[in-house]
């Protein structure tokens, strides 16, 4: 079973995206706490694409696909902005961020802590980030 949707490149559409993902996971009996964790990881990736992705075409979208297997859930996040491989990104040290009073910089850290598998693939046309999370479905 797979679902997908496109959201406009806009920070204030992230809330709607989160609702979509929440509904789909809920439909597949994913427990609330885990749903929120996965929604958070997808939210971080989408926010980064919108904020840092430097997509030239304002009429473009971030595409999110969600598919289920027995072990868990795959999220594919596809965009057409600058290629950015979060797997290769070295996260900063939390203590340094706190000491220097940074107001950000922990998004990718969260994604990596939450997700069980991360794959990145970039073609001239688009970037695909694939995130997998193991889930014990409620029924």
């Amino acid at each position: 079973m797979a679902y997908s949707f496109n959201i406009p490149y806009s920070k204030n559409k992230l809330r709607l995206m989160r609702k979509f993902v929440t509904e789909v996971l809920h439909e597949h009996s994913v427990p609330d706490i885990e749903t929120n964790m996965m929604v958070l990881a997808v939210d971080e990736v989408c926010a980064n694409i919108i904020i840092h992705g430097q997509c030239s075409d304002l009429e473009d979208y971030v595409k999110i696909s969600i598919s289920f297997n027995k072990e868990g859930v795959w999220f594919d996040i596809i965009d057409k902005g600058a290629a950015f491989d979060i797997i290769k990104y070295n996260e900063p040290i939390l203590g340094d961020l706190i000491r220097t009073k940074q107001k950000g910089g922990v998004g990718i850290m969260l994604v990596k802590k939450i997700m069980d598998k991360i794959e990145f693939d970039s073609s001239p046309n688009q970037n695909t980030l694939r995130l997998f999370k193991k889930v014990t479905f409620e029924k």
Binding site: N12, D32, V39, E44, A47, L94, I98, G104, G107
Partner: protein, 114 residues
């Protein structure tokens, strides 16, 4: 979709945070905290009973005040986090770097215990 309401009580400032603290809204949270700190009150409690969601942008705002809290000896207590939001604070261990309490009563005990 984030609402920040500040109430000044006798010996503390209370800030109620309602809604989603995400990439688009967390700047509001920052403004709210900034103005509370600018009043240099030594006791600040944050009511998160109606905080539905927090992303790294919202966590980052709280993070950025940790130094100031320590340097200014401010008692800064967050209370009322739902289980799912509390778990998000826990991912990076921020639940160890900030004072988190379940209820307003417990938060006030923390202030008065000083």
């Amino acid at each position: 979709m984030l609402e920040i309401v500040q109430t000044n009580e006798n010996n503390y400032i209370s800030i109620a945070v309602t809604g989603d603290a995400d990439a688009s809204s967390s700047i509001k949270l920052d403004k709210g905290l900034r103005s509370a700190f600018d009043e240099s009150h030594s006791n600040i409690i944050i009511d998160c009973t109606n905080l539905n969601y927090i992303s790294s942008a919202g966590l980052g705002v709280f993070m950025s005040y940790i130094e100031e809290i320590n340097q200014t000896n401010t008692t800064f207590v967050i209370y009322g986090l739902s289980e799912k939001v509390l778990k998000v604070f826990g991912i990076l261990g921020l639940d160890q770097l900030l004072i988190l309490k379940n209820t307003k009563e417990e938060a006030l005990v923390e202030l008065n215990g000083l």
